[in-house]
C-alpha cells in the first residue's frame, strides 16, 4: 500500500500481480491446465495410442462442435445468465443446413450460403430468446428451457418419419472432414505465430508510446516462444496423420476473434460490466438490454456453427441432432474452463480448455475401453470440482476486498 500512483509509476510486475491474484482467489486457468496434463499422462500410461497423431487429429475434430458452442455460451455466462437451448438450437441449424443442400431444386443453396444461413438462424433465434430476458425480464433459465423443448420438437418435426437427412454437399462436409496439406499446415503455424508475436509486440509498443512501463518483457517473450512451439508441434503431429484439420483451424480463428471482442472492444467491456453490476452499467449509460440480446445472439449463432460441424462430422442430421449430452457438455466446458456461473468472470479460452478436458476424458475412456458410465461419473466429478473451485475463489475474492 505504500507505493503511490502519484509517484512515477510503481506498477507491480506481472509475476507479482499473478501471485497477488492467486492469493486473493483469482486462480485463472491454472487448475484446468494442471488437470489436463494429469488426464493426458493417465490415459497415455493406459494406452500408447492416446497421444498418437491419428488420435490427436480425431480429438480436434470430435471436440470442435462442443468447443464452438461453449465459446458462445461463455458470453451468456459472463452476463450471469444461462442458455439451455444451445443443444437443440445447434440441431435446428444442422437441419437448416442439411435441408438447404438437398439437391431437389426448390430450396437448394450453395454450401457456404447454407452454412451462413444456418448460423444466422441460430443467431436470430438467440436474439429472439434474449429479448424475452432483456426486455420483459423473464428468467433466462425458463426462456431457454422453453427453447430446449420447442427446438427439439422442431428438429423432430422437420426430419419427420424419414429419420435422417444425408448431407452430400462438399462445403458443409468439409467443415469437419477437411485436412490441410502438410505445407498449408506449416504456413498456418507460421502465420499464427507471427500474428501472436505482432500482437504482443504491438501491446508493448503502445504502452511505451504513452509512457507506461511495458510490463514484463521476458514473460511476453516466453509466451511468444511457447505459443510458436505449441503451434508448430501440433502441426508437426497432425502432419504425421492426415494433416491439420480445418476444424482445428476454425477453433483457433474463433478463439482469437471472440477473445478480441471480449477483451479489446467496447462491447466486450460492457458485457463484463453487465455481468459484474448491471445497475452500475445502466447508470454509466450502457444499454443493458442491447448487450443482453446481443449476447444471446452470439450464443445462438455459435450454436448454429457448432451444429453445422456436428452434422458435417456425421455427414447427416438425424432425430438426435443437438440432443444427448451436447448441451451439458458445452456448458460444463465453459464452467470447467473457469467461467463463473455468477457472471462477470471468465474468458473465451475457458471454452477451449474445458472442452479439451471433456473431450480428452471421453476420447481416453473410449480408447482404454471403460464403459460410458465411467465417462459420466468422471465428467460429473470434474464439473463439481470446477464449480466448487469457482465458488471458493469468489469467497476469497470477496474477503480480500475487506
Amino acid at each position: 500500500m505504500s507505493a503511490g500512483v502519484a509517484e512515477p509509476t510503481v506498477e507491480p510486475n506481472a509475476f507479482r500481480r499473478g501471485l497477488d491474484n492467486i492469493r486473493s482467489g483469482d486462480v485463472g486457468s491454472l487448475p484446468v491446465i494442471v488437470g489436463l496434463i494429469l488426464i493426458t499422462i493417465f490415459f497415455q500410461s493406459k494406452n500408447d495410442n492416446f497421444l498418437s497423431a491419428g488420435n490427436i487429429n480425431n480429438l480436434m475434430v470430435q471436440m470442435a462442435g462442443v468447443t464452438l458452442i461453449a465459446m458462445g455460451v461463455v458470453f451468456v455466462l459472463l452476463i450471469g445468465e444461462i442458455d439451455l437451448s444451445i443443444g437443440f438450437l445447434s440441431g435446428v441449424a444442422g437441419v437448416v443446413a442439411a435441408k438447404l443442400q438437398i439437391p431437389d431444386g426448390s430450396w437448394q443453396a450453395n454450401g457456404i450460403v447454407a452454412i451462413l444461413i444456418a448460423i444466422a438462424v441460430g443467431a436470430a433465434i438467440g436474439a429472439f430468446q434474449g429479448s424475452f430476458v432483456a426486455l420483459i425480464g423473464v428468467p433466462s433459465f425458463v426462456v431457454t428451457l422453453a427453447g430446449l423443448l420447442a427446438w427439439q420438437g422442431v428438429v423432430q418435426k422437420v426430419i419427420g418419419v424419414q429419420g435422417v437427412i444425408p448431407i452430400e454437399d462438399k462445403w458443409i462436409n468439409d467443415t469437419a472432414n477437411y485436412f490441410f496439406s502438410d505445407r498449408a499446415g506449416w504456413i498456418l503455424a507460421a502465420a499464427a505465430s507471427l500474428f501472436f508475436a505482432a500482437t504482443a509486440l504491438g501491446k508493448v509498443l503502445g504502452r511505451r508510446r504513452h509512457g507506461l512501463e511495458a510490463g514484463n518483457l521476458p514473460l511476453a517473450l516466453a509466451k511468444v516462444i511457447a505459443f510458436t512451439g505449441v503451434a508448430f508441434f501440433v502441426v508437426a503431429v497432425s502432419n504425421r496423420d492426415r494433416g491439420f484439420p480445418f476444424a482445428g483451424f476454425l477453433i483457433v480463428v474463433l478463439l482469437v476473434f471472440w477473445t478480441y471482442v471480449a477483451t479489446r472492444t467496447t462491447f466486450g467491456r460492457h458485457v463484463y460490466a453487465v455481468g459484474g453490476n448491471a445497475e452500475a452499467a445502466r447508470r454509466a449509460g450502457i444499454n443493458v438490454a442491447r448487450i443482453r440480446i446481443a449476447v444471446f445472439a452470439i450464443s445462438g449463432g455459435m450454436a448454429g456453427l457448432g451444429g453445422v460441424i456436428l452434422a458435417s462430422r456425421l455427414a447427416s442430421v438425424d432425430l438426435n441432432a443437438g440432443g444427448g449430452t451436447l448441451l451439458l457438455d458445452a456448458i460444463s466446458a465453459a464452467v470447467i474452463g473457469g467461467t463463473s456461473l455468477f457472471g462477470g468472470r471468465g474468458r473465451v479460452v475457458a471454452a477451449l480448455l474445458g472442452a479439451l478436458v471433456i473431450a480428452t476424458i471421453a476420447n481416453g475412456i473410449d480408447l482404454v475401453g471403460y464403459s460410458s458410465a465411467t465417462k459420466f461419473i468422471v465428467t460429473g466429478a470434474i464439473l463439481l470440482a470446477a464449480v466448487t473451485l469457482d465458488t471458493l475463489s469468489r469467497r476469497r475474492l470477496a474477503k480480500s476486498g475487506r
Binding site: V5, A6, H210, T266, N277, E279, R402
Partner: protein, 253 residues
C-alpha cells in the same frame, strides 16, 4: 448552481415543497436533514432522475432544464451514489471509463490512453492509496472504492459533484481520506454537494450547510457562524422561515 422554489410530489406525498438551494464553484455545500427530509429527492432532481414539478434551476446564471441523467452530465453535473455503482469484476481504469470508453473507429479500446489519464486524475486528487490502477475493484477497501467513484465523477470536466453519504460505510482513517478528497475537489474550483448524516464530517469540510426538514428548507447556515447544536435543532425542530415566497435564507431560527 441555484435552485429556486423546487417542489416535487409523488402521488399525494409532497417530498419537496418550495425548496431553495444553491452551491457556488469552489464551495462545499452540505445538505443535511433527517430520514425522509427530502435530501435524496433533491439530489435526484438535480441529477435528472426525477423532474421537479415546479421551480426553476439555474446553472451558471442561465436557466436550464434537466430531463435526464444525460442532461445533467452535459452540464457537468456528476453524482456519486451511496452504493458507488462500481463493477467489482473490473479494474480501476475500466471502472473510471465505464460507459465512456476511449475507442477508435473499430471500437477498439485505447487502453494506454485510458490508463494514463486514470493515473493523472488520481494523482491530481492526491489519491496515493491505490497501488495499481490495474487492480480489480473487488480488492479495494471502502475508502479506495470511494476515491475511485469520486475520481470518476471529476474526470469528465465536471463542474458540480454530488456526493451521497460518502463516508457512511467507512472507518475513521478512510473517512479522513475521503474528506480530504472532498476538500481538494472544492480547492480545484468545483462545486460540491455533500449529503451526510454525520454532522462531525459536515462541520469538518462544509462551507455552508442547508437544512431540510419534512420537504422544506429550514435555512442555510455558514459553517463558521453556527454550531452543531443549532444545526441539530434545525434538523429536528426547525420551522421554515420562508413565508409567501419571500426568502430569508440564512436567518437562524
Amino acid at each position: 448552481m441555484e435552485l429556486r422554489g423546487i417542489s416535487k410530489s409523488f402521488g399525494s406525498v409532497e417530498a419537496l415543497t418550495d425548496v431553495d438551494f444553491s452551491v457556488a464553484p469552489g464551495e462545499v455545500m452540505a445538505l443535511v436533514g433527517d430520514n425522509g427530509a427530502g435530501k435524496s429527492t433533491l439530489i435526484k432532481c438535480i441529477a435528472g432522475i426525477h423532474a421537479a414539478d415546479s421551480g426553476e434551476i439555474l446553472f451558471e446564471g442561465r436557466e436550464v432544464t434537466i430531463h435526464g441523467p444525460k442532461d445533467a452530465a452535459r452540464l457537468g453535473i456528476e453524482v456519486v451514489y451511496q452504493d458507488l455503482a462500481l463493477c467489482d469484476n473490473l479494474d480501476v481504469v475500466q471502472n473510471m471509463y465505464l460507459g465512456r470508453e476511449e475507442h477508435d473507429l473499430l471500437q477498439r479500446l485505447r487502453e494506454p490512453v485510458m490508463e494514463q489519464r486514470t493515473r493523472e486524475t488520481l494523482a491530481g486528487l492526491s489519491v496515493t492509496t491505490i497501488r495499481s490502477v490495474r487492480q480489480q475493484v473487488a480488492g479495494l477497501s471502502g475508502g479506495q472504492r470511494q476515491s475511485v467513484a469520486v475520481a470518476r465523477a471529476v474526470m469528465w470536466n465536471s463542474r458540480l459533484v454530488l456526493l451521497d453519504e460518502p463516508t457512511a460505510a467507512l472507518g475513521v482513517a478512510q473517512t479522513r481520506q475521503v474528506l480530504e478528497l472532498v476538500k481538494r475537489l472544492a480547492e480545484k474550483g468545483l462545486g460540491v454537494v455533500l449529503i451526510s448524516h454525520n454532522l462531525h464530517d459536515v462541520f469538518e469540510v462544509a462551507d455552508r450547510i442547508t437544512v431540510l426538514r419534512l420537504g422544506r428548507d429550514i435555512g442555510v447556515y455558514e459553517r463558521a457562524q453556527t454550531t452543531q447544536q443549532e444545526i441539530v435543532h434545525a434538523i429536528t425542530a426547525g420551522v421554515p422561515t420562508k413565508v409567501a415566497g419571500v426568502a430569508e435564507n440564512g436567518a437562524p431560527v
